[in-house]
């Protein structure tokens, strides 16, 4: 899927690991802290082996204290370090939300620009592993509501490998959401020190009939849907948002100008999700370009249940995307 990656194929989790290791080698101020990042090797095995390479001061296992260690990450950033804080999953990050929203996001502005918070927070997000109602939710769209933080969602191995460097170079708090279903994905990744653009969305597949606008774990469903639609003669363009805050409105609008139809695909709950924001922006910037109303394919508004068939029904599916896009292109949106 990556377009210009020339390196060897690797797992998404390994790409993140290599990015962390590279950052730690290059900058002494960088360190990683979080629950079980060291001796355990990371709850999703992302950080396996890093403790042995960098030692327990820089690969720092924390107690179960999300609020305090995220806050300590903010403090350490203020104190001149470049912390990478891992929070195991988005659901657990709610425990640290006060520090993220009330401190990390506000300190620069309310101090009149005296302080920067060069902090990276990584967390796993999303469903699909049957982890049920306290482990499976997608809060990245929610975080994207907060001024003062940036939100990244790597959907490819290349992005997983390349987003960390610019995130660490950023003087602002950057949150990186890693979809749990992607950790084992293998793709070609670039070699050596790499940095990808962290300002723009990108078109992952060209098409003229409909734009499928998505990010993260759902990108792969959208790409599959694109294939299936192509087989029916519908050419879907797939836009990977990549950066959820600040949103790259221009790339979205450009795509809609080409296709005149859009489906937003998001694993977050529908109401008030990032899919609503994308729809609203298209409304504001490309209303007169639209041949039909923008549609959303998002998670059902339920706590994600455990059994596979119910979880599957709750999350966006390839079939659901295909059907929605097909109806949209065929002019059947049921809109009064």
């Amino acid at each position: 899927m990556t377009t210009d990656a020339r390196g060897e194929r690797m797992q998404y989790r390994v790409a993140i690991r290599e990015a962390i290791a590279e950052a730690m080698r290059e900058d002494e101020r960088v360190f990683l802290m979080g629950e079980d990042v060291g001796r355990y090797g990371g709850c999703f095995a992302v950080t396996l082996g890093l403790l042995e390479q960098f030692g327990p001061e820089r690969i720092r296992d924390t107690p179960l204290s999300e609020l305090a260690f995220v806050g300590a990450g903010i403090g350490a950033a203020l104190g001149g370090m470049r912390p990478i804080v891992e929070v195991m999953t988005g659901n657990f990050s709610l425990l640290a939300l006060d520090q993220i929203v009330n401190n990390a996001a506000t300190l620069s502005h309310m101090s009149g620009g005296q302080f920067a918070v060069p902090l990276v927070i990584r967390m796993a997000t999303g469903g699909g592993l049957q982890l049920a109602a306290q482990h499976s939710h997608s809060f990245e769209g929610w975080y994207a509501h907060i001024p003062g933080i940036k939100v990244l969602a790597p959907a490819t191995v290349e992005d997983a490998r390349g987003m960390l460097r610019p995130a660490l170079a950023d003087p602002n708090p950057v949150l990186i959401f890693e979809h749990i279903r992607l950790y084992s994905m293998m793709e070609a990744a670039p070699n050596g020190p790499v940095s990808v653009d962290v300002h723009s969305a990108t078109v992952r597949r060209g098409g003229r009939d409909v734009s499928l606008i998505t990010y993260g774990g759902s990108l792969h469903k959208a790409m599959e849907a694109g294939e299936a639609l192509a087989a029916e003669g519908i050419e879907a363009e797939v836009v990977d948002l990549r950066v959820l805050r600040p949103l790259d409105t221009a790339t979205i609008i450009d795509s809609v100008r080409r296709t005149h139809r859009a489906v937003v695909v998001d694993e977050g709950w529908r109401s008030g999700g990032i899919s609503a924001e994308v729809s609203a922006r298209i409304m504001e910037h490309a209303f007169y370009e639209l041949d039909a109303p923008v549609q959303r394919v998002a998670a059902a508004e339920v706590p994600i249940p455990y059994p596979a068939h119910l979880e599957g029904a709750a999350l966006p599916s390839v079939a659901g995307i295909v059907e929605c896009a097909r109806r949209l292109v065929r002019g059947d949106t049921g809109n009064g």
């Binding site: 355990y40 179960l64 109602a133 339920v302 455990y306 059994p307 068939h309 029904a313």
Partner: protein
């Protein structure tokens, strides 16, 4: 019944209860490998004496709040193994209707309030349940289980303070199995003597050998009496050990095999039967009988689960909101 017969009955009950848990979970591990159980599965193997011992101190009307490692608590609290296994399978006949799976066992009938997969997330709920009892003048208590890792969470401290400040009938049961996933207690806590934490709240606390079901039962009985009698909370720290991986995804890089081996020597399912034999309360035939009984129950549970049905997809949104007041069980 003679005192001796009573003692024997009680001892066999404790043994049977621990064995039910052990066999149930060994089966779960097998079924996990067979992909009939999915998601996260956290086994209690090695810690059975804690749940079984504590449950002896509870009345039917008391409440239980547990964690994602709660099969043992569920079984010893009296949740039937069929619906429990069906829950693991995600079947509609499961105790939570199949929606929760291993980490989210709920049962209104036994006042079992989860099955909470947010570490320390159940502790404030226990405080609230106890507050409700206190305000309604009921003599019930709430037993709240959590690990030593949870003791680092703010929710733990805030909750202990509330319970002590308001004299609420909570029996806090900390299962100190030395690890939170792969993090040793010495890497979680500056003060590793967990029972000492309660000094900050003027709450009575006892540390107990969690591998000794009789010690657990005895301390739980006394502490529960304090809680029920005076209405204030009490804290028990059970020193125990998990023999198996944290969950099915754990390669156990963080501990030596030797350490596990040492603790296995204190396996309550080894030491307790040995003690009973010593006291002349158990022989091979009886043990075989108990094992057979337990096996029968387990086979039935698995059959029940396997015969279970899938909740129709059309019901996905049911109970996101409760439409009418539900019966609140024995609340």
């Amino acid at each position: 019944m003679s005192a001796r017969a009573l003692e024997r009955d009680r001892a066999l009950h404790l043994l049977r209860e621990m064995l039910r848990i052990r066999r149930f979970e060994e089966k779960c591990a097998e079924l996990y490998s067979a992909e009939q159980i999915r998601g996260f599965l956290h086994l209690y193997v090695g810690e059975e004496a804690v749940a079984v011992g504590v449950m002896q101190a509870l009345e039917p009307d008391d409440a239980v709040v547990a964690t994602y490692r709660e099969h043992g608590h569920a079984l010893s609290r009296g949740i039937p193994s069929g619906p429990l296994m069906a829950e693991m399978f995600g079947r509609a006949e499961g105790v939570s209707g199949g929606r929760g799976g291993s980490m989210h066992i709920f049962d209104a009938r036994t006042r079992f309030y989860g099955g909470n997969a947010i570490v320390a997330g159940g502790i404030p709920l226990a405080v609230g349940l106890a507050l409700a009892d206190r305000m309604q003048g009921r003599a019930r208590i709430t037993a709240c289980f959590f690990g030593e890792g949870a003791v680092a969470e703010g929710a733990f401290y805030e909750s202990l303070n509330l319970a002590a400040l308001w004299d609420l009938p909570v029996l806090f049961c900390c299962e100190n199995n030395l690890y939170a996933m792969g993090t040793h207690v010495a890497l979680s806590h500056s003060e590793t003597d967990i029972a000492l934490k309660t000094t900050a709240f003027r709450m009575p606390a006892w540390a107990v050998d969690g591998m000794d079901v009789l010690a657990v039962a005895e301390h739980a009985r006394r502490a529960a009496a304090v809680v029920r009698g005076e209405g204030g909370p009490a804290f028990l720290e059970f020193r125990t050990y998990r023999f198996r991986a944290h969950s099915m995804y754990d390669a156990e890089r963080y501990r030596e095999r030797g350490e596990v081996q040492q603790w296995r020597e204190r396996d309550p399912l080894v030491t307790f039967p040995a003690l009973l034999r010593e006291r002349g309360l158990l022989d091979d035939a009886t043990l075989d009988e108990v094992e057979a009984e337990v096996q029968r129950e387990l086979d039935e549970a698995v059959a029940f689960a396997q015969a279970g049905t899938l909740e129709p997809v059309e019901h996905l949104s049911r109970y996101v909101y409760m439409d009418e007041r539900v019966a609140e069980g024995p609340s």
